[in-house]
Amino acid sequence: MDARDKRGHDGGGPCAARPGAASTYVAFRAFAMSSADVTISAERPAVPAEREQAQVQRDPLERFGWLFLGLVLPLLLALLLEAAVQLGLSNGRLVPPPSVIFQTFVDLARAGELQRHVLVTTGRVSAGFAIGVIAGTLAGAITGYSALIRRMLDPTLQALRAIPSIAWVPLFVLWFGIFESSKITLIAVGVFFPVYLGVMGAILSVDRKLVEVGRVFRLSAAAMVWRILLPAVLPSYVIALRSGLGLGWMFVVAAELLGASEGLGYLLIDGQQLGKPAEIVAAIVAFAIIGKLSDWIIVITTAPFLRWEDAFAAKR
């Protein structure tokens, strides 16, 4: 309790009436409050300074420390592979060493090919991801909130989810042709299901106590979803987004493998048909890098909205 509370108590405290008999109690309370005041006043200047210090310590050192730790394993593997080829332990044709892959990258970039394929693939994934996320979030929110709609819609959606991604390709090609729409639709379908499942499951697990707070404040259905359910599920939603994105990258490969003239998936087929394993591995490495970057973008952009979390991972 701070000083303001004490002033508020003066008129209403129980100790005011009988100084004699209540003196022990008064003394005890005075002691308890004064030590509480001491603790609080000692605490208050310390907390902002502590936070500042922790921030300063965290920024330069820890952040880059984690980044470098993440790079140790891939760099190690790359070095081992390079060494194996240089020493003649492997002929480096079917499993190209990093030097050859790097050279392939440079060649592709110089010809402008790398940029073209990367842009096309990334564009497809972005469009499919956007559509899949919007549809998945809406469907998940509605089925999460309304038991009736859930019972009617969920069994069908679960059945659709069980269909392997590749099985959709012939149908979409027939429906939408061999150009962009069929590919983007396929990616959207892939992204939809993890997001839908994540949002619905998370809404169903929201703490009833928080929902009751919403009921007590007479929130409309839309307000309940927007102000309580969706913020409550935000941590799980981010995880659902990330897994949706991962599937998006997977589905773009499926789409591009089965009929494309551009894109990183096309490079895979091109490398296979022309007998250029370096091109295949280069495309795979490009997928890995861009996929990781896109996932990192999600984490970075959503981190400020998750600072409130009181979870195991809260201290990074």
């Binding site: 701070d2 509370d5 508020g8 108590h9 129980p14 005011a16 009988r18 009751e212 707070v213 102000r227």
Partner: protein, 263 residues
């Protein structure tokens, strides 16, 4: 005026939580409900708040039957139930979302100042102690200026010192606008400090057993003889409420029931 008119609540699984509870609380009165476990005190509060509906009888506030949460009725739960993704200031202002920002900010600032949390306005709920969180919850309920404030064992999760502080604090806040308070507690001291009237309930099924007027002047002196006397009257009523339960329903609680088991 808040009136409960022969209210009963039977759950779908057959459990009769409340039986024929009739009660009237005058405007500005502080009524405290106390009783043995299973006497339906929390159920009663939820019915008054509108979170559940009675299966018999009705809850009436100012000639309107309560079946849903109302703007005129605020509630503070045993846990603070602050929304973890909002700052303390945003939590306290949660019920004022339909007001203009300037008015809302001003009222939030006043409310935070009143409960002594002005310096915590921008913090997250996870950074507050139990007592601070509960004070924020009380501010959140009071900021909408309800006619009736319900408190369901609001301080039972806190340590004894914080409890005493918050009881005084609550009375202070109550003195501002004097809403009708209905408090559920299992702490007899707390009941006597807060109440104009103590309603003792008996369990199985939950019903009103006795009403004890405290007849004490405010501010309450926890050390006075009159306080002790009121406390003894309430504890005697609690004892009798459990004895009653033994002769009518339950054999198993017969042996050692008494003041020690009233909670």
């Amino acid at each position: 005026m808040l009136a409960l008119d022969h209210v009963g609540k039977t759950y779908p699984n057959g459990v009769r939580a409340l039986h024929d509870v009739s009660l009237e609380v005058e405007p500005g009165e502080i009524a405290v409900i106390i009783g043995g476990s299973g006497c339906g005190k929390s159920t009663l509060l939820r019915l008054v708040c509108g979170l559940d509906q009675p299966t018999q009888g009705a809850v009436v506030l100012d000639d309107a039957t309560i079946t849903e949460p109302q703007e005129k009725i605020g509630i503070v739960f045993q846990e603070p139930r602050l929304l973890p993704w909002l700052s303390i200031a945003d939590n306290v202002g949660f019920g004022l979302a339909h007001r203009r920002a300037a008015e809302r900010n001003q009222r939030v600032a006043t409310a935070l100042d009143r409960v002594g949390l002005s310096d915590k306005a921008r913090m997250w709920p996870r950074e507050l102690s139990g007592g601070q969180s509960q004070r924020a919850a009380i501010a959140r309920a009071l900021i909408t200026r309800p006619e009736v404030m319900l408190l369901d064992e609001p301080f039972s999760a806190l340590d004894a010192f914080t409890r005493i502080d918050l009881q005084d604090h609550l009375l202070n806040l109550w003195a501002d606008a004097k809403p009708t308070l209905v408090v559920v507690t299992h702490d007899v001291d707390e009941a006597i400090v807060l109440a104009d009237r103590v309603i003792v309930m008996s369990p199985r099924p939950g019903r009103v057993f006795a009403e004890v007027e405290t007849d004490l002047p405010r501010p309450r002196d926890r050390q006075s003889a009159a306080f002790d006397f009121a406390k003894r009257r309430v504890m005697a009523a609690l004892d009798r409420s459990l004895d009653r339960a033994i002769t009518t329903d339950d054999r198993e609680t017969r042996a050692t029931a008494g003041a020690a088991l009233w909670w």
